[in-house]
Symmetry: C2
Subunit: 172 residues, 2 copies
């Protein structure tokens, strides 16, 4: 299951990148700078669009690395433009593409995954199953959806099929 989820995260990141492409075309047609979206927030004390993309990428990257027992690559949080953010997605996808089903073979539902340390105390540990289903998946889709919502609220013409992408149907 672990590798399947990583592949699904890759699909969703590709969908998110395509949605950002539509936002660029929309901004161009409406004659404003698409980078204005980078600092958009749904509410003043919420994280801006830029952070939504970074965190979505980081959840995908750390889910894959942790479940494969590897150290995730470090990606600096230094993006200031839409092009930078699409580059961040591409870097994340580049890393995920280096992994294969084999990398996840030794992980069981009970494998302990350690979360990052917090100030003054070590990070807690979760069973792999709990880590994936209760923390990483809801978190990943939370940030992708919030990024989508920011663009959608900004008048970009996107719909659920952009978010889900093309589903593989059974023919016949």
């Amino acid at each position: 299951m672990y590798y399947l989820v990583v592949k699904q995260f890759m699909r969703t990141l590709k969908n998110l990148d395509a949605i950002m492409g539509k936002a660029q075309a929309s901004a161009e047609a409406r004659k404003f700078d698409v980078n204005n979206f980078c600092t958009e927030r749904l509410f003043p004390d919420m994280l801006p669009f830029t952070a939504q993309i970074r965190i979505a990428c980081d959840h995908a990257k750390s889910t894959a690395a942790n479940l494969a027992g590897k150290e995730p690559p470090k990606h600096e949080d230094n993006e200031t433009t839409f092009a930078d953010l699409r580059g961040r997605i591409a870097k994340c996808l580049g890393y995920l593409e280096t992994l294969s089903a084999k990398d996840f073979e030794r992980t069981t539902p009970d494998t302990a995954i350690k979360l990052p340390d917090r100030p003054g105390r070590p990070g807690p540990r979760l069973r792999a199953e709990e880590y994936l289903l209760a923390r990483q998946m809801p978190n990943f889709y939370f940030h992708v959806t919030t990024a989508y919502n920011l663009l959608r609220r900004g008048g970009v013409e996107i719909g659920k099929s952009d978010y889900l992408g093309t589903l593989e149907t059974i023919e016949g």
Copy 2:
């Protein structure tokens, strides 16, 4: 895995219900009618809060029923208040609680799941694995997150820990 995901959807629906409880307390403290949230939308042509809750519930219900090879119960879309919507969540949870791991034992990744018919053509079929990972999970979290975002944008003091709930850590 199927039953685990259903249990996770139940946790998330309970978290969503608790978030709605916080919204009620917040509206009371700020002296406005919490039901005003029911018609809130992020953008004029997006679905309102009420629809986000209904659709989140329906995705949870149909995921469970389809993967268990059962007919989901019909829940009418007639809610007009916050209390009604929390009742809808309770009804959905009531149905999900009737299911157990045993109900999902015969489902394999290749089991065909038929999607609802569309005007003029039959619904496509998806492999259970594709149905769950690529359609139902992203959709479910999409609507829960959008409901959360509507309340959060409305000044309700909620955070990621309300959305995720309490994670089960490994002790020691």
